[in-house]
């Protein structure tokens, strides 16, 4: 009964850094707490009523001391801030070689989809040592994708995409929790991250019958929803061609420039009037209410594939 854990295991490359920041701050906080508690108990005892301690020259003000005990905590705080901020940046900067996985939160499960088309519910299999970027969205309310062993967490917000990444550095299975209260079965919206040796992961990926890569399905949806009717070289309507668009800057009407990321593609499909590409007329119809969330992700996967020369999928 007593062999319960007191500290979470470290499953990702960033975990030890987060823990290092934590222990650094814990040390400072413990030291301060012990100091204050000691001084309180010591003074309360030494100067208790009836004791013969020296109470002469009581000082009620000392600006120098106050400056010191404003300045020193401030300096220590700034160090704490900086150290934590540095690791935070590392947590947010996605490495170039990260593979992608899509996680859709809905009451009360995680629907996870690999680019190769393999789907999982409440489980995510990943290979050891490979950075994985999880693109999150929600179908209903705000959820949060949390893997304590990896020390990462990110809210899944309806109406937009958010993302987080991790690089698992230990084989095993690690808890996955929803960490933003989302209704009745919030505490059952849990699962596992399975980190496997790369060879085992490949095997797992190929098991269960061939699946259609997301981008392939996306290409079909691109056609069936009529996108290729305008967004192709042979169209009579002048619409931007999408080859190589993903990940690159897009100048908009009105002078601003945005990066064509998941959010931009999604908004272009659902709210085409909001960010019209420069030099084009705002004639694209909206598909809001017609395209489902997981279909959106597949179309986005397809458009992403147009942006990388090696992975281009034929229409």
């Amino acid at each position: 009964m007593w062999d319960f854990p007191l500290f979470p295991e470290q499953g990702s490359a960033i975990a030890w850094r987060v823990d290092a920041v934590f222990f650094f701050e814990l040390a400072i906080c413990t030291a301060v707490t012990i100091m204050i508690c000691f001084l309180i108990l010591y003074y309360a005892t030494k100067y208790r009523r009836g004791s013969r301690a020296d109470r002469s020259n009581v000082v009620t003000d000392n600006h120098l001391i106050e400056v010191i005990w404003v300045g020193v905590p401030l300096a220590i705080s700034m160090v704490m801030f900086a150290v934590a901020a540095v690791v935070y940046f590392q947590m947010y900067r996605v490495p170039e070689d990260a593979s992608e996985v899509y996680a859709l939160g809905r009451q009360w499960m995680w629907q996870i989809e690999h680019p190769g088309g393999k789907r999982e519910i409440n489980e995510l299999h990943v290979p050891l040592g490979q950075a994985v970027k999880v693109v999150l969205s929600s179908q209903d309310v705000i959820h949060s994708f949390y893997v304590p062993a990896f020390r990462v967490k990110q809210d899944a917000v309806p109406g937009r995409y958010t993302s987080m990444w991790f690089r698992p550095d230990r084989v095993g299975k690690f808890h996955l929790y929803c960490a933003e209260y989302c209704g009745t079965d919030h505490s059952r919206m849990i699962g596992w991250i399975h980190v496997m040796e790369p060879a085992d992961y490949q095997q797992w990926l190929e098991s269960g019958g061939p699946t259609e890569p997301m981008a392939t399905t996306g290409a079909q949806l691109f056609k069936s929803y009529g996108c290729s009717g305008c967004h192709s070289p042979s169209s009579t309507v002048r619409a931007p061609l999408l080859d190589g668009v993903f990940g690159h800057p897009v100048p908009l009407e009105g002078g601003t420039v945005v990066t064509a990321d998941e959010r931009y593609i999604r908004d272009s499909i659902l709210l085409p009037m909001s960010e019209v590409a420069a030099g084009y007329k705002p004639v694209m119809p909206t598909f809001q209410g017609r395209i489902k969330e997981d279909e959106l992700l597949k179309i986005i996967a397809y458009i992403k594939s147009l942006g990388r020369k090696n992975e281009r999928v034929e229409q």
Binding site: F4, L6, F7, P8, R17, V18, V21, F22, E25, C29, T33, I40, Y43, A44, Y47, R49, A53, R55, S56, V58, T60, D61, N62, E66, W69, P73, L74, S77, M78, F81, V83, A84, A85, V87, Y88, Q107, D140, V141, S144, Y146, R151, V152, K153, Q154, D155, V157, P158, G159, R160, T162, Y177, C178, A179, E180, Y181, G183, T184, H186, S187, R188
Partner: protein, 540 residues
């Protein structure tokens, strides 16, 4: 004290004994008592909800209540404790009672508005209780959208209405205090001669009047969205759920300082009295409280680091959050320095005060950890946060409230409480509290999310410890309820100044007369004017 044979002077308790004289009173002291009774009721209601929560959490599986019920219980606990206990507690009970006394006034600036604030409070309470009784609310006290506005099928509207209404009670109290403190000080009572409790009430009132209206608007928008189906925060209809979070936390972060600053004020009165010396660094103490009030408005985004807020927004909010901790740290150091070369008595109020300083230190320092971006990503929405805010709210605010109630009990009632029981309760609360909440820091870092009624088996032992602590804590809270009420009949009669404290409230009878002072008193030249030279002091 009643003189032999002569008619006892009517005090504010005996002057008028009908129900009508209480329910239509405009005496700030009686209004303070009306609030005391109401918030005590709400405290035990919120506590009952917490008891059931902790009972459920003794075992990993959900086996005490249904999941929907559990969600309603933690929501009820949060809503009741935050809006109907913590926010009013010290200002509406002790502030109402003491502000005029401490500055030498006969009442607050707007006595009828004061009574109105209590009725508004009760009406808000009725709506919220209605929500709890007609099936409950399951959104969490934070009402995040779109769950609260579009998905929850519980009594969100009544609860939102209750919170909307009770906010105005807060605003009216704050308004009254600000005008009173500015305009009704006795001759000679300059700002730098004010008791620090008054500074605390002033700083708190500034937050109350500037922050609460934003909460009102936010809650109103959620209500509109829910009732009419407008897409104010629903992304499917063009709205932004994160806008709700910004609006909500813009109030709710300063709100935690509404809950905390008054306790600072109480500690600032208890410590000089029971060290028989002035507080170290009076000006700094006053400035620190004002700084906390101001800086508190700038840090709300630290509740939203993983919400989808930009990374750079996160950096700014983290940076500013470290700043708001500094004035609090300074206060802890100054209190410790006040003990130095003082004459310390370990009375019940002093035990609460010393406990406050230690527990608040832990709570505040863990706040720094939460302000640290890299750590917060891991522990946000886990039990680490729950532990942090309970250290501040219970270890801090509630201990401050109880310390204040004990300290001024003789003044309010004319009776002493039994000191042995006071000390026993304080100790029980301290032990129970730490056993309840310290394990939760560990649970949080381990990764146990909050608002879970089912959890993985490896978290059970720590949860059982926490529940055990909660049962001790419950006993600790029940003790004062019993002995304080009994003291009304059985307590030793207290004179005007049983503690030998400095301050205008201690120079009038206990309990005070209806009008407090016959003539405006003259303010002492220095606050906490305890004799400093050895030879001036009474022999120990």
């Amino acid at each position: 004290m009643s003189a032999q044979g002569a008619e006892p002077q009517p005090n504010y308790l005996t002057a008028g004994q009908s129900v009508r004289s209480w329910l239509l009173t405009i005496d700030h002291k009686r209004i303070g008592l009306l609030y005391m009774v109401s918030i005590t009721l709400f405290f035990f209601l919120g506590g009952a909800a917490a008891t059931l929560v902790r009972l459920e959490l003794m075992t990993p599986k959900g086996d005490v209540v249904q999941p929907e019920t559990y969600n309603k219980l933690f929501t009820a606990h949060g809503v009741i404790m935050v809006f109907f206990f913590l926010i009013p507690s010290i200002p509406a009970v002790l502030g109402n009672f003491l502000v005029p006394l401490m500055i030498g006034a006969r009442d607050l600036a707007f006595p009828k508005l004061n009574l109105a604030s209590w009725y508004v409070f009760m009406i808000g309470g009725v709506f919220t209780l209605w929500a709890v009784l007609t099936g409950g609310v399951d959104t969490g006290w934070t009402f995040y959208t779109p769950y609260s506005s579009m998905f929850s099928n519980t009594s969100v509207m009544s609860a939102a209405l209750g919170v909307f209404i009770v906010g105005f009670s807060s605003i009216l109290t704050g308004l009254n205090f600000i005008v009173t403190i500015h305009k009704m000080r006795a001759p000679g009572m300059t700002w730098l001669r004010l008791p620090l409790f008054i500074w605390a009430m002033y700083a708190t009132s500034l937050i109350m009047i500037l922050g609460t209206p934003v909460l009102a608007v936010t809650v109103a928008l959620v209500g509109l969205e829910r009732f009419f189906g407008f897409g104010i925060f629903d992304p499917k209809l063009g709205g932004d759920p994160i806008l709700f979070q910004h609006l909500f936390w813009f109030y709710s972060h300063p709100a935690v300082y509404i809950m905390l600053l008054p306790s600072f004020g109480v500690i600032n009165e208890i410590v000089p009295c029971f060290t028989k010396r002035p507080v170290f660094g009076y000006r700094t103490m006053a400035t620190a409280m004002m700084a906390i009030a101001a800086l508190g408005f700038l840090v709300w985004g630290h509740h939203m680091f993983v919400s989808g807020q930009s990374m750079y927004g996160g950096l700014i909010f983290s940076f500013l959050s470290f700043f708001v901790a500094i004035p609090s740290a300074v206060k802890v150091f100054n209190w410790t320095a006040t003990l130095y070369k003082g004459t310390v008595s370990g009375t019940t109020p002093m035990l609460y005060a010393l406990g406050f300083i230690g527990l608040f230190t832990i709570g505040g320092l863990t706040g720094l950890m939460l302000a640290s971006l890299a750590i917060d990503v891991h522990v946000h929405d886990t039990y680490f946060v729950v532990a942090h805010f309970h250290y501040i709210m219970v270890g801090g605010a509630v201990m401050g409230y109880l310390g204040g109630i004990h300290f001024w009990w003789p003044k309010i009632t004319g009776r002493m409480y039994p000191e042995i029981w006071g000390k026993l309760a304080a100790l029980t609360i301290f032990i129970g509290f730490n056993l309840t909440f310290f394990p939760q820091f560990i649970l949080g870092y381990l990764g146990m999310p909050r608002r879970y009624y089912e959890y993985d088996a490896e978290y059970q032992v720590l949860n059982v410890m926490s529940t055990a602590g909660a049962s001790i804590l419950a006993v600790g809270f029940l003790l004062p309820l019993v002995y304080l009420i009994l003291s009304l009949w059985m307590g030793k009669e207290a004179g005007p100044n049983p503690w030998g404290a400095k301050g205008l409230e201690w120079e009038i009878p206990s309990p005070p007369t209806v009008h407090n002072f016959d003539e405006p008193p003259v303010a002492p030249e220095r606050p906490y004017d305890y004799p400093l030279k050895e030879q001036d002091r009474e022999p120990s």
